[in-house]
Symmetry: C2
Subunit: 251 residues, 2 copies
């Protein structure tokens, strides 16, 4: 199939290409410099802000739609996307007139959509944000300074953040977000940023070490004013196993 070239073609071919009534929205969290950001799009038409999203091709797995959307907007491959909720209120995208689509061929786009939400946590500086046909801009916005979002996208972000935080209880994070070698305080700051709260230093270290996914290196970090802290790295095999099987953490 040839790639769709512009918004008009997308609107007119969409009905044939995509499953009716079904969309995917991605909450892409970015971690950088001890702060948590969300990737947003700004529409050309009216300047409304929204989440990166798209539709499900007639023979495409919904997970693959999410991966495709993430790839199109960020350039990133091989990112773990977690499906977290389907938003199925019949009035969730009631203010469809924001789209200002005319003509019969765009009718499918004005119907009710159930959207399936996915989230990912990525290292912000690895992303090259790409606007879609609707948008003039694709950019990172601090989670504490979100603009007004269309439809129920604010709820979608809120739920995604709650689920990301919940996932910290039974899944490790850090791989791909921290440098290969990192200190315990660096790892703690990642968790503190996502949880948006301060954690007890000794408890955190004890819990983290008990997971047995970290390898303590012989070298120490040098250059700071304090006593040189140990460097760690993830044991990739054990980390992957913990992602797959889950673990018990409990924040």
């Amino acid at each position: 199939m040839k790639k769709i070239r512009d918004f008009q073609e997308f609107v007119s071919k969409g009905e044939r290409l995509y499953l009716r009534h079904l969309s995917v929205d991605c909450v892409i969290f970015g971690f950088h410099d001890d702060s948590l950001k969300v990737l947003l799009l700004k529409w050309k038409d009216g300047g409304h802000w929204c989440l990166p999203g798209g539709f499900v091709k007639k023979n495409e797995a919904v997970d693959d739609s999410a991966t495709r959307i993430l790839k199109d907007r960020t350039g990133l491959d091989d990112i773990f996307l977690q499906q977290f909720h389907a938003f199925g209120d019949p009035f969730r995208d009631r203010n469809k007139e924001l789209l200002s689509i005319q003509g019969k061929s765009g009718k499918w786009l004005m119907e009710r959509f159930i959207t399936i939400g996915y989230y990912a946590l990525v290292e912000y500086s690895k992303v090259s944000p790409q606007p879609d046909w609707l948008s003039e801009e694709c950019k990172w916005v601090d989670i504490h300074k979100l603009p007004k979002l269309i439809y129920d996208h604010q709820d979608i972000v809120r739920k995604a953040l709650a689920e990301l935080r919940r996932s910290l209880n039974d899944h490790p994070i850090g791989y791909n977000l921290l440098p290969e070698k990192f200190t315990m305080p660096e790892l703690q700051r990642l968790y503190e940023t996502v949880l948006d709260k301060t954690l007890d230093r000794r408890n955190f270290q004890k819990k983290m070490l008990s997971l047995k996914i970290l390898e303590r290196l012989k070298e120490r970090k040098t250059g700071g004013a304090h006593k040189a802290p140990y460097l760690y790295r993830f044991d990739k095999k054990k980390y992957a196993k913990a992602v797959k099987q889950g673990l018990r953490f409990g924040f």
Copy 2:
């Protein structure tokens, strides 16, 4: 709208009534006599086993579809249903010919469906299982003795059970499943049944009491051979708050 009377009418009116490509499946767990069961349907046509499910009306919230399906199959109202996953593989219901539907009006039913999974945990003896149009039987089956299920329904049960167990880390269970007054060993058996593992008695009691959702009564249970154990009941307000806000348990 008049109620649909039979399977033929359901097939022929379905396309106009329901959203295309979208279904709901419910994993209804039943707790009774220290064992965990799942409510299943057995088709008239071929005797295949499946989960109770249905479709989403054009103006119906997906959560309301799940509530309607639960009510139709169990007679139960006011049951907390938890959405847990959307199953979106294009081949998940590939063996549609099991349905043996003929004629053009049933074409919508033979297309691809994305199904949204919900689970509930109910007190088995409160349920009056009701077959649907497709089924000759609706009954409880022990989770350890499930028959072969159609499509990906086995995966749906597995995922629902994993999510129910995961939910025990941050949500209480017991209300509506235990008598109003119960002993700590009775509560522990409920948790052990859902988790399918033995828990340490003292640890369990300590954790449970730390949640502060239990009220210890002055009366004790009498009649057993052992020292009469304390009776407890849930503090409904605190229990409801814990359901809403979540709590930290960590099994």
